[in-house]
């Protein structure tokens, strides 16, 4: 007796029905990361027949809260800090609170602990930050209050609404932004490099180091001009980070349930083999297990190389698209993350006891020169074990739902910038780096001894790529933030409007405008684009911030 490979056995007779080998949809979304889920949720609720296909066993992409300190300790394996909760349209459009989603936004957002026991705070309430800065420099405390007043307006009135509106060319942007004071201020900032902005505004070296770290930690070259608009954005959002209670995956779960509740289907543990092309149009996908799903719109959330070169095929790309895709550059650095389960949480010796209650604690960085040197090392493929720093969070301080060990414990992580191609290889370097991190951690938090530690899991840039293959080379944003890969250039001029030169093919991932860090921008914009193209009535309206922006600037 022989069984056809993926067919039901004949021994007992037909067993039960399975998802069909061939099916037809209005829209197929490849990849169930935050943006793929978002696009799918909007379109499903608009009445489209939607299928989401996910390679992993679980949806969420970077919204992954998993038991990576096996067994009994859950960690946010990737995304921890949610910076756009205040603006993301999906949260209100879908009333996600109904899924028992709760956002924690501590006032004590970021602390920087120095080896001599001193510390700096960056808080949600501006005045608390100024109190902390005051002890280092009166001038900087004053400056911080002043610039944040404007920068908050820049974010509220311009950058946040723009995140959820179609990309504009730098030329168009400079024309419209010229209409207001804050707009002109932003244009001025945009010309500069993060380093210029920070050093021009602040005098104290430690304050500079803190603000530079927070501005650039997600992958900005501090010396690169033309990326200055990220400084107000990342500083303002860096003091408004939220923790998703129960773990970041809850956000994915809520979106997944909205998709399914609105008639959509999610296929997980299902890899896409290729995007089916007919007469130059994308008409569906074929999965690894041999199923075919046809659709009017195929929407990929994957990186450009995977979408266009691997799934569509380089030979099928019209015009200059192949060239554009091949020119795509991945993030300048990745992350090395050491997850730790410990008996007690790390208790820092800092002079300000608030450090222990801070959402994020930066340590290992004593000044700007050292920080720049560390980043230079990383970009050169190296890590100097005597000179590195990063940020940490004790997740269980905010979330009792991560620890399932009979003996209790706490869950923390330390994260630092790290190169994908490290000198030596990761298998060799990881253990020595882990040791160096624990030594450094213990220096600032003396109770964090080896005895206190129950278990660890070190995730290298290579591990990031293994877990999420579209974060090629460990690129958390699927591709670098540099002027030639932003706005209308993300991922390229052909595709920055979320449609592509290939009819029926759309993109919605973080390699498309406006980019990564769970902004919820590209997924929202792709849904808008597909709805427009398909003539679907939108059940959602632009947010009030977007409407205000349109009124003022457009």
């Amino acid at each position: 007796m022989e069984f056809a490979k993926y067919e039901q056995p004949l021994l007992i007779g037909g067993v039960f029905d399975e998802f069909p080998r061939e099916s037809t949809w209005d829209a197929i979304i490849i990849g169930a990361g935050p943006n793929g889920l978002m696009t799918a949720a909007y379109l499903a609720k608009a009445g489209l027949k939607v299928a989401v296909i996910e390679r992993r066993y679980e949806i969420g992409g970077g919204l992954a809260t998993e038991e990576i300190m096996w067994p009994c300790y859950y960690s946010n394996a990737h995304v921890v800090y949610h910076m756009m909760v205040d603006y993301m349209p999906i949260i209100k459009d879908f009333n996600l609170d109904n899924h028992a989603m709760s956002w924690i936004k501590p006032n004590l957002q970021t602390a920087m602990a120095f080896e001599d026991g001193s510390s700096l705070l960056l808080t949600r309430m501006i005045e608390d930050t100024r109190d902390s800065f005051m002890r280092y420099s009166h001038k900087d405390a004053v400056a911080f209050g002043k610039v944040m007043r404007t920068w908050r307006r820049i974010v509220d009135e311009i950058i946040a609404p723009l995140t959820y509106m179609p990309a504009m060319s730098p030329m168009d942007l400079s024309v419209i932004l010229d209409k207001t004071d804050v707009g002109r201020e932003l244009l001025e900032l945009s010309e500069k490099s993060p380093y210029e902005i920070i050093t021009e505004t602040f005098e104290n070296d430690r304050i500079r180091a803190l603000l530079l770290y927070v501005s650039c930690m997600w992958g900005l070259d501090p010396m690169e001009t033309g990326t200055g608009l990220f400084v107000p954005l990342l500083l303002c959002r860096g003091i408004n980070k939220c923790y998703c209670y129960g773990g970041s995956h809850k956000f994915a779960g809520a979106m997944g349930r909205e998709i399914v509740a609105n008639g959509g289907v999610i296929l997980d543990m299902c890899a896409v083999n290729k995007i089916i092309m007919e007469n130059g149009k994308a008409v569906g996908v074929e999965t690894l297990e041999g199923r075919t799903l046809k659709a009017k719109a195929v929407i990929s959330s994957l990186d450009p190389h995977t979408t266009f070169l691997d799934l569509v095929g380089g030979d099928n790309l019209p015009g200059t698209l192949k060239e554009s895709v091949e020119g795509w550059v991945y993030d300048k650095w990745s992350f090395y993350t050491l997850h730790v389960a410990s008996k007690e949480m790390p208790l820092y010796i800092a002079e300000e006891p608030w450090v222990n209650e801070s959402f994020m604690v930066i340590f290992g960085i004593e000044g700007t020169d050292q920080l720049l040197e560390h980043w230079t090392n990383v970009m050169a493929g190296n890590i100097d074990l005597k000179n590195f720093g990063g940020h940490s969070t004790c997740e269980s301080l905010w979330d009792p739902h991560l620890v399932y060990a009979p003996w209790g414990g706490e869950v923390s992580f330390f994260q630092m910038h790290a190169p994908y191609d490290i000198v030596g290889d990761w298998e060799k370097r990881s253990p020595e780096l882990q040791d160096a991190i624990l030594d450094k951690w213990q220096k600032v938090a003396p109770n964090f001894t080896r005895d206190n530690i129950i278990q660890t899991n070190a995730e290298t840039p290579v591990d990031i790529e293994i877990r999420f293959p579209n974060m090629r080379r460990g690129s958390i944003k699927h591709g670098d933030y540099r002027p030639t890969q932003l706005n209308t250039f993300r991922p390229n001029v052909e595709c920055s409007g979320h449609s592509t030169p290939i009819e029926g093919l759309y993109i919605c991932g973080v390699s498309s405008y406006p980019g990564g860090l769970v902004l919820g921008g590209s997924g929202y914009l792709a849904a808008n684009k597909v709805a427009d193209d398909m003539g679907v009535k939108k059940w959602w309206k632009p947010t009030t911030e977007m409407e205000k922006f349109t009124k003022t600037y457009l």
């Binding site: 007796m1 022989e2 069984f3 490979k5 993926y6 039901q8 056995p9 021994l11 007992i12 007779g13 067993v15 039960f16 029905d17 399975e18 998802f19 066993y57 679980e58 809260t65 998993e66 038991e67 990576i68 096996w70 067994p71 009994c72 859950y74 394996a77 899924h99 028992a100 989603m101 709760s102 209670y245 129960g246 773990g247 809850k250 779960g253 349930r257 399914v260 509740a261 008639g263 289907v265 999610i266 296929l267 997980d268 543990m269 299902c270 890899a271 690894l288 297990e289 041999g290 199923r291 739902h401 399932y404 060990a405 009979p406 899991n457 995730e459 591990d463 990031i464 293994i466 877990r467």
Partner: protein, 572 residues
């Protein structure tokens, strides 16, 4: 109470059974809210990646639920249910070569005989076309009302044998153990040990009196019915189809929402109170029609209901429910090379998944260790029984990769029965305290068959029963089946005779669907939910559409609404 949330039905626990009944009730048009303590739904139907690119199933691995009416009634195909049919090893038959199953014994491979397989296939109903019917009679039928006498004429599977295979039907079958049954119809000792051990690994063990057919049928469900193949995405993939069915029909699922109390007022369950750390502000939710506990029975009684609601006599009997025979110590090996069988076991590389299958003496020694001794395993390492429910055995790599780390291989899980931690003489943490020692012991045991475990080992992860209990609150004592699948705790006596129809005596609107509190117990069968549906229809709570059909062996309770639709679908 004015603007408080209200649902028709609240279900506590989004494990397999809570989710199944949620899907059934939501599809019946009821408003349903499921409250899950953990951040992830699925209970024991879970998967996880302990490190990037390495995939394991901590609990349930094999698919036993193939014959469930739920596939059809809930139309799971619509919600993405897919099988990985490429791996079909557990059936034990290498159909291409015509060879029968090779079994691992201390001295080498013992092959099952033709008589073994003839007896096995005959009793399973596979040869006469009643395999599904027999399985459904065993698992997918609520126990009869208490006034119906339980005998060889009334027990559903006995009815099926009497009609379909009258030559094997005898009243004594009802009293037999699986060993008695096998001694009658099968041949070689190792094959019988294998069957008895797989049955034990499935809950009802081969030696348990009066459990011959349920024990035998659980082996058929796991190995023959779906040929040992698993769903795409593993057992968690099957869960995804189930929960998405419930959600598509409007069920609300809330994670990180532990329940502290079932609110009982005037003899009726009216709602629940969530614990302080629940992820939602509204800590009291009201149920207009029913509260269903899909969590473990002892905790439901002791913690959620408490002595205000439960009389001391009942509480004692609930606390006496036995959890032995269910705690499994799981091992997961990350390796540099695939495991190789030793020379003398090469012939059983495809089918040999349990060791040592030599004799009843070894089997009973291990049983005594787990059920009769309150401590760590005492049998020599080459005599402790294990099951390799392993990834490579039943999950294919091509379309279903379990390890995507370059040059690494995962084998999960290699399972050993141990005593429940609560019954351990040195306290529940004892087996954790001896973790390293036990790990070495388990590796030595497993190395009796594989030759390169030690030299290729990168990581050896374990999951102890004590850890399992804390990870999955419903798995008291790390018991995979809630309470033991023995005759005193099965069918009309599961969990207790007065609760066999899933109702709480003395409290209206309170029902049980957890494996520890409901026939037929564990194995992710969609059976506790299906069976409970009969009761909920009887009580006027659920009125399913014409997609519903009752079990053909179901007996309606006098004075209640019959769960058999007057018109509509009957089982195929």
């Amino acid at each position: 109470m004015g603007d408080a949330e209200r649902y028709d039905v609240i279900i506590i626990g989004a494990g397999h059974n809570g989710t199944t009944i949620a899907a059934y009730l939501a599809k019946s048009g009821l408003s349903v809210c499921v409250l899950e303590e953990r951040s992830e739904c699925g209970g024991a139907q879970e998967n996880t990646d302990p490190i990037a690119g390495v995939h394991i199933s901590p609990h349930a691995v094999a698919l036993y639920g193939g014959p469930a009416p739920g596939w059809e009634q809930l139309e799971l195909w619509r919600y993405g249910a897919r099988m990985d049919w490429a791996a079909q090893n557990l059936s034990g038959m290498d159909f291409s070569s015509g060879e029968f199953m090779g079994l691992l014994c201390k001295d080498g491979v013992s092959f099952a005989s033709g008589k073994d397989f003839d007896g096995w296939l005959k009793l399973s109903g596979a040869l006469n076309g009643f395999c599904q019917e027999l399985l459904r009679a065993t698992f997918w039928c609520p126990p009869h009302p208490s006034y119906v006498e339980v005998n060889a004429e009334t027990v559903p599977f006995m009815q099926v044998y009497k009609e379909r295979l009258p030559e094997v039907w005898t009243p004594e079958m009802l009293e037999w153990s699986q060993f008695d049954l096998m001694d009658e119809y099968m041949d070689t000792e190792p094959f019988k040990i294998y069957q008895a051990y797989i049955a034990w690994m499935s809950g009802a063990a081969g030696h348990m009196e009066g459990m011959a057919i349920p024990a035998f049928e659980s082996v058929v469900a796991a190995t023959l019915y779906t040929t040992g193949a698993v769903p795409m995405g593993g057992i968690h993939g099957y869960y995804h189809a189930l929960i998405r069915c419930a959600i598509a029909h409007g069920a609300v699922f809330r994670t990180c929402c532990p329940v502290d109390e079932i609110i009982v007022s005037h003899g009726k369950a009216v709602g629940v109170r969530l614990s302080d750390n629940a992820a939602i502000g509204n800590k009291v939710i009201w149920a207009d029609k029913a509260v269903i506990s899909a969590t473990e029975i002892k905790q439901t009684f002791n913690d959620l209901l408490g002595p205000q609601v439960v009389d001391p006599g009942l509480m004692q009997r609930v606390n006496d429910l036995n959890i032995k025979g269910g705690p499994i110590y799981c091992n997961y090996f990350l390796l540099k090379n695939p495991l190789r069988y030793r020379e003398k076991y090469k012939a059983a590389e495809q089918t040999g998944v349990c060791y040592p299958m030599d004799s009843r003496e070894l089997y009973y020694n291990h049983v005594a260790d787990c059920m009769g001794i309150q401590g760590n395993p005492t049998v020599p390492y080459d005599e402790i029984l294990w099951l390799w429910a392993g990834s490579n055995k039943i999950i294919t790599h091509e379309c279903h990769p379990q390890c995507t780390r370059p040059d690494r291989y995962i084998e999960s899980s290699i399972e050993f029965y141990v005593p429940p931690p609560q019954y351990h003489i040195d306290g529940p943490e004892a087996m954790n305290a001896h973790k390293e020692e036990l790990k070495t012991y388990f590796r030595k045991a497993f190395s009796c068959v594989v030759e390169n475990l030690e030299e290729d080992l990168v990581e050896h992860w374990v999951l102890t029963p004590w850890e399992q209990e804390f990870r999955n609150t419903g798995m008291l004592g790390g018991s995979w089946y809630g309470i033991r699948h023995c005759r005193d705790q099965w069918w009309n006596e599961r969990p207790l005779p007065e609760m066999a129809r899933y109702r709480m005596p003395g409290v209206d609107g309170l029902y049980f669907v957890h494996q520890s509190a409901a026939h037929p117990g564990g194995l992710c069968l969609m059976a506790c939910g299906y069976n409970l549906m009969h009761t909920l229809i009887e009580d006027g709570i659920a009125e399913p559409g014409d997609w519903w059909y009752a079990s053909p062996w179901y007996i309606p309770e006098k004075g209640k609404i019959s769960a058999v639709p007057r018109e509509g679908k009957v089982p195929a």
